[in-house]
């Protein structure tokens, strides 16, 4: 476990990584062939969305060393943007004046607030669902990173921002639906195609977005900018003396992470058919961190699978009779165990195992006359 995953960057290793990522995405696309139950598919789509947001955190936390405890903020903002558009897409049932969302009517709002108006356009909503989180991340990042705030203080500031945003949304009930969130939504319809939350179409939509963002993030980590982010994680002061603007790079990581989380939030609204303040509450935000840590924060795929796995287990455990009261305890135990035993999460375990295997195969190979030191991958030697 002394070898960090990021240190393995041979050309062959890059190809292997690409193949692994592609295989997992393919498997995700094949799931509906085996699962006919739309109810289950909806639940799986939900896990995929959570996988996406954990993957986004891996980019900022695992690669750039920015522990963003407010990851759910981007997620929630995305989900509200989508919910606003879908709310305006409903045929008004309870409305007095034309097209006013029902909860506004109940709260004696008479005209649609100005910031709701553009959400009549789905295209605008989708753009906003990404742009708003990115903008918030950039502003937040500007203050944090230009001010050279590091370490635990970054975690505190991001967490505090999340709490403030959450309280604001709950407090402004006439405009946000308050505690209840925004419910009774229309189905998302794009290019004349309607996405029913309980159908293969929504599952595929989520799977496609997940695949695209996973590979986009992979490309980022494989770029020189991605390498510089890892250098920043290691020793940000040293990076400055090579002429790189550390604050700008950290803002990039935070912004891309926010964009992916915002997209995930939008999909979450489509899958769940509502938006609620719980989408940006502290417990979800901390869960994202746990998923990411268990899966392996220095691996995009690891973080993603960690989230899918644990969220899936959470779902199963919290429903089964035996664990009804204790599933939180079980999850906590898993988290503590993984963090103590596997600093690089499950992904670290897998990669260490692969190296062992490679080393063992190499030592059996008669053409190589040298002994193999376990734990050192074979490809390291010339």
């Amino acid at each position: 476990m002394t070898r960090p995953i990021s240190a393995l960057r041979g050309a062959g290793e890059a190809r292997l990584q690409f193949a692994l990522y592609a295989a997992v995405c393919l498997a995700i696309f094949l799931v509906p062939l085996a699962v006919g139950d739309d109810f289950l598919l909806n639940r799986y789509a939900r896990y995929l969305v959570l996988g996406m947001v954990a993957m986004a955190l891996s980019l900022s936390w695992g690669y750039a060393g920015i522990l963003n405890l407010g990851q759910a903020l981007s997620f929630g903002l995305g989900s509200y943007c989508m919910a606003m558009a879908l709310k305006l897409g409903t045929v008004p049932v309870h409305t007095g004046s034309d097209g006013l969302p029902d909860f506004m009517v109940w709260n004696n709002v008479e005209t649609l607030p100005w910031f709701w108006v553009p959400f009549h356009s789905t295209a605008f909503a989708i753009l906003a669902g990404i742009a708003v989180p990115v903008l918030v991340a950039c502003v937040l990042g500007w203050f944090i990173f230009r001010g050279r705030v590091t370490g635990v203080f970054v975690a505190i500031i991001t967490l505090a921002t999340l709490v403030v945003a959450n309280l604001l949304i709950i407090d402004r009930q006439p405009y946000t639906g308050g505690f209840n969130g925004i419910t009774d939504l229309a189905q998302l319809s794009l290019f004349g195609f309607t996405f029913d939350a309980y159908s293969k179409s929504t599952y595929y939509l989520v799977a496609a977005c997940l695949t695209v963002s996973l590979f986009a993030c992979l490309a980022l980590t494989r770029s020189k900018a991605g390498l510089i982010l890892q250098a920043i994680r290691d020793d940000e002061r040293r990076v400055r003396f090579f002429g790189y603007d550390v604050a700008a790079y950290k803002m990039l990581a935070l912004a891309v992470s926010a964009a992916v989380a915002g997209l995930a939030g939008m999909l979450y609204t489509v899958v769940m058919e509502f938006a609620s303040p719980t989408f940006l509450d502290v417990s979800l935000s901390l869960s994202i961190v746990i998923w990411c840590a268990v899966g392996g924060r220095q691996s995009l795929l690891g973080a993603m699978l960690g989230a899918i796995l644990i969220a899936g287990m959470q779902g199963a455990l919290s429903e089964s009779e035996a664990f009804l009261d204790t599933w939180m305890l079980v999850m906590g135990a898993i988290f503590v165990t993984v963090v103590l035993v596997l600093p690089n999460g499950l992904a670290g375990l897998v990669s260490a195992g692969a190296h062992r295997l490679a080393a063992m195969l190499a030592s059996r190979d008669p053409r190589r006359g040298e002994t193999v030191h376990l734990g050192k991958p074979a490809e390291d030697r010339p």
Binding site: L227, D234, F242, V246, D380
Partner: protein, 250 residues
């Protein structure tokens, strides 16, 4: 000839302790300047002031016609200042190759690096460089696994990869074998002329090998300046520094 690098009347205090107290230093283009002095004389702090790691309380640092004392570190680096630290500082989690890739910093902008692969086209130059410092076999090894000596060499390689106009070396030969010290001296002599170099060093043998002009610091000030010969015969220098090290005029 006007100075390429000019420190004028610099003062820095740490919690009231004057680490640098009215330092003046002037170095011309292409020169290799050695900076010596007893422990705590303020040599490292002087380099910190040039590269922006420490801010001066007063005084100015001018380099190639620009005032550096208020510039951010990365802008100073972009202006052509490279630095090797006294405590070797490399990216321990990254492989030797990736360390060198980071150091090849011709393009520093976010969007420029976003569109470039992590493993640049400078691959060949990179391998030559690794060969040169004896790390060719360790290219894929994380820097954390290197020995102290190898780490020193990696940092020197980083500096060569960065290819700055002004190079600041803080005790480059600390912990090196005799042979390695000779090699480092050789590198310094080769860089001389093309680059302007400031070397902080305690090893007088090394200084004699490379130094044209030597500046001696003591208690945050410049004590003497001159050739090896002149400096080693300087009364005060012998008293505060050379004498105490027992290698006087030897």
């Amino acid at each position: 000839m006007s100075a390429h690098l000019q420190l004028s009347d610099i003062r820095v205090s740490f919690n009231g302790f004057l680490a640098v107290n009215g330092l003046n230093l002037s170095i011309s283009k292409g020169e290799l300047r050695c900076l010596i002095g007893p422990n705590g004389a303020g040599k490292t702090t002087a380099l910190d002031l040039i590269c922006g790691k420490t801010r001066a309380d007063s005084g100015s640092v001018r380099y190639a016609g620009r005032e550096l004392s208020h510039m951010e570190e990365h802008l100073i680096a972009r202006a052509g200042v490279g630095r090797k630290f006294q405590v070797p500082s490399v990216f321990r989690q990254l492989s030797v190759r990736d360390n060198l890739e980071v150091a090849m910093c011709r393009h520093t902008g976010v969007f420029a690096t976003l569109l470039r692969p992590a493993r640049g086209r400078g691959g060949e130059g990179l391998e030559t460089l690794a060969e040169f410092v004896g790390l060719a076999d360790a290219l894929e090894e994380p820097a954390a696994n290197l020995s102290h000596g190898q780490t020193q060499w990696l940092e020197i390689a980083l500096l060569l990869a960065q290819d700055s106009e002004l190079i600041l070396l803080d005790e480059p030969t600390a912990g090196m074998t005799q042979q390695e010290t000779v090699k480092t001296a050789d590198i310094c002599n080769r860089l001389k002329g093309k680059h302007t170099i400031v070397v902080v060093e305690h090893d007088m043998g090394f200084v004699r090998e490379i130094g044209d002009v030597i500046s001696v610091m003591h208690q945050g000030q410049l004590l003497a300046e001159g050739t090896v010969r002149e400096v080693s015969q300087h009364e005060k220098v012998r008293e505060v520094y050379l004498g105490s090290m027992g290698i006087g005029g030897a």
